[in-house]
Subunit: 382 residues, 2 copies
């Protein structure tokens, strides 16, 4: 796989031998070596081994006399733990490591990958959103993810409850990438264990932290930067005003990626974050066609679901047939109602009629199967 | 009232006498003299009387030997009909005629005005939308109109069913302007007769066509141009993909006015037009604050409702109190539900649980009054 190392102005040889890999891992896991420092050290010293050799001296100069880098044994243990899980280690500049991540000053020094590493060669979009998503939001996430999958994109998300899980599930037949906040073998939340194990075969799990790491609050923004940077566009389906999804979207903007959002009614709090993003310039999307149009793509090549034994997405509910011919008050009454039950009081006020008149109309329409009456004075279509 | 006549490069004296008024009306009502031609003739001949004198010659030159302008009797009859109704005739450049309309090449040659002509001196916004509006859409229209009224704006709309009527009703205590497609005394639709008569005293009715004119399909776009041009911003609340409201919005853009729209969920057909406008660059608005912000206004002066005996807008439904502490499955279940009943099947699928587990949770929450069960396997909050 071709990767460009434009954030490495100093000549730098990607790791090729087991020995190099071990040095990379040791440097990445050394105390006080964050992702940004890692790249700085590599750049300054030309190789991970050279940086490791220099590290104690640098620490001494900074006043830490007793600093020692990550011992080889610890790195070796991580390597064998990863391999026992069947995961592959991807290193910056090495095979499989996504070139897009190298645009970050704090590109992950390494990634553990479990599953279809080939998905990293596909164009990618993120589909993210609220954990406490509404049913409608989850339906939109499934629809978007499935259609983007069909259009040839790998769908990236964070394996969270709600929108993330719905998106992974729907995109799985085409290929989906879950970026995890903890170790590659630590599934959070636990109820997504089954989904994660299916992604590990039909899709791809990615984790920056060592196997066995329990995710902590501070790991989520780090994970989110990978989702944002990996994806050509980040699609936000449902998000409250102050939410992690919005932070991911802001990162995507910082990285020069596209941000797109599904709008919602202003009286729906779960649409607040998305409406805010759109006000701030995110592309308003109503479905996958809008995403593809905004990306400036022609009718994209259509992918077929892989024949893996994955549950396929549920068919959308059948639409109500054409409405029977109705006139006047009946038409206005039917127009006011939708699939979601509405209080009779509201309808009476909106129609400007009295309760008896409404009642007469409702009886007729109920008999014809046009509307349904619910207890508590609620009416709905169909 | 000061008006600028920048579309009249030729010196032109606004009509001041009864005689001038009659000439204006005759010219405007003459066969084949549309609004654009009217202004052309005024410009070329310097006065309505001169244009009327020239008209037969112009017609002859164009091959119509038997052309005669509108007879004085017809114009006199219109003048007395309008005055009998208590309406005032507003003429371009004359007192009361809104200067903003003069920016149109086809500015109305005259307007009949019934009610508070002083409202034409206030800043104005249009609140328009679907006739078959949803209850939620009408609520939003009422809220926007009332708040814009409070902020000191006169709310302009078309007296149609649905969004228009809701907006007029809510703005009436502050001042609202209804622009009519037919004559000032022909209320369409008839069910808005009561609203129209209250606007005639507490607000302002405007009509371009002679009293007694029944509105026809072709009159509505003409009427819409007045709504768009009169209003500093046109706010679209709910609109289907191909609808009159969208045409009004396009006109507003053509006239260099602001267009703003309330978003909705893409699966809601009544939001399609608004979402389309936002994609095309309209400002996404969630309430009056967004409108005021987009107009670049500071916290606007607050108007108080006039003490007229108008029904005041209904108070918004009380919000549910803070949610009782709930954990795990219960929290997820509550989060999935909203005020709109949702099918149990969907909830079961979204939660990834079985029907028996759901049923156990529902019983507890029902007892605590947190959720309501509806027939047909539907659940809602509260």
């Amino acid at each position: 796989m071709k990767t460009s190392l434009f954030s490495y102005p100093t000549p730098f040889t990607p790791p090729t031998t087991e020995e190099d890999e071990l040095s990379f891992l040791r440097l990445a896991r050394s105390r006080r070596v964050g992702a940004t420092t890692f790249h700085r050290l590599l750049k300054d010293h030309g190789s991970a081994a050279a940086a490791l050799d220099a590290l104690p001296g640098i620490a001494r100069a900074a006043g830490s006399a007793d600093y020692s880098p990550c011992p080889p044994g610890v790195a070796k243990a991580e390597l064998s733990a990863g391999r026992r899980l069947g995961a592959r280690l991807l290193l910056p500049g090495g095979p499989g490591y996504p070139a897009d991540l190298l645009e970050l000053p704090d590109a992950p020094p390494l990634l553990w990958a479990l599953g279809r590493v080939d998905l990293l060669a596909a164009p990618r979009v993120a589909v993210i959103g609220a954990r406490n998503a509404s049913s409608l939001g989850q339906r939109m996430a499934r629809k978007l993810a499935e259609e983007m999958g069909r259009a040839g994109f790998a769908v990236v998300s964070g394996l969270a409850r709600g929108i993330d899980a719905a998106a992974h599930e729907a995109a799985l037949p085409f290929g989906t990438i879950a970026v995890m906040a903890g170790g590659i073998d630590v599934i959070y939340p636990p109820e997504n264990r089954d989904l994660a194990s299916r992604i590990a075969t039909g899709g791809l799990l990615l984790a920056e932290l060592p196997p066995g790491t329990e995710p902590q609050a501070r790991h989520f923004p780090q994970r989110n930067r990978i989702i944002a940077a990996l994806s050509r566009a980040t699609l936000v389906v449902e998000a409250a005003a102050r939410s992690g999804s919005l932070l991911t979207a802001r990162m995507a903007l910082d990285y020069g990626r596209e941000v797109m959002a599904v709008p919602g009614h202003p009286m729906d709090a779960r649409a607040a974050g998305c409406n805010m993003l759109i006000r701030d310039g995110a592309v308003l999307i109503r479905g996958a066609e809008d995403v593809i149009e905004a990306m400036g793509l022609e009718a994209a090549p259509r992918a077929e679901p892989r024949p893996d034994p994955q549950p396929s997405p549920q068919p959308a509910a059948a639409k109500a047939g054409p409405m029977a011919a109705v006139t006047g008050l009946r038409a206005r009454l039917l127009a006011l109602l939708g699939p979601a039950p509405t209080p009779e009081d509201t309808v009476i006020r909106d129609l400007g009629i009295d309760a008896a008149t409404l009642s007469r109309e409702v009886i007729g329409l109920e008999i014809e199967g046009e509307i349904t009456r619910h207890p508590g004075g609620l009416l709905s279509r169909g």
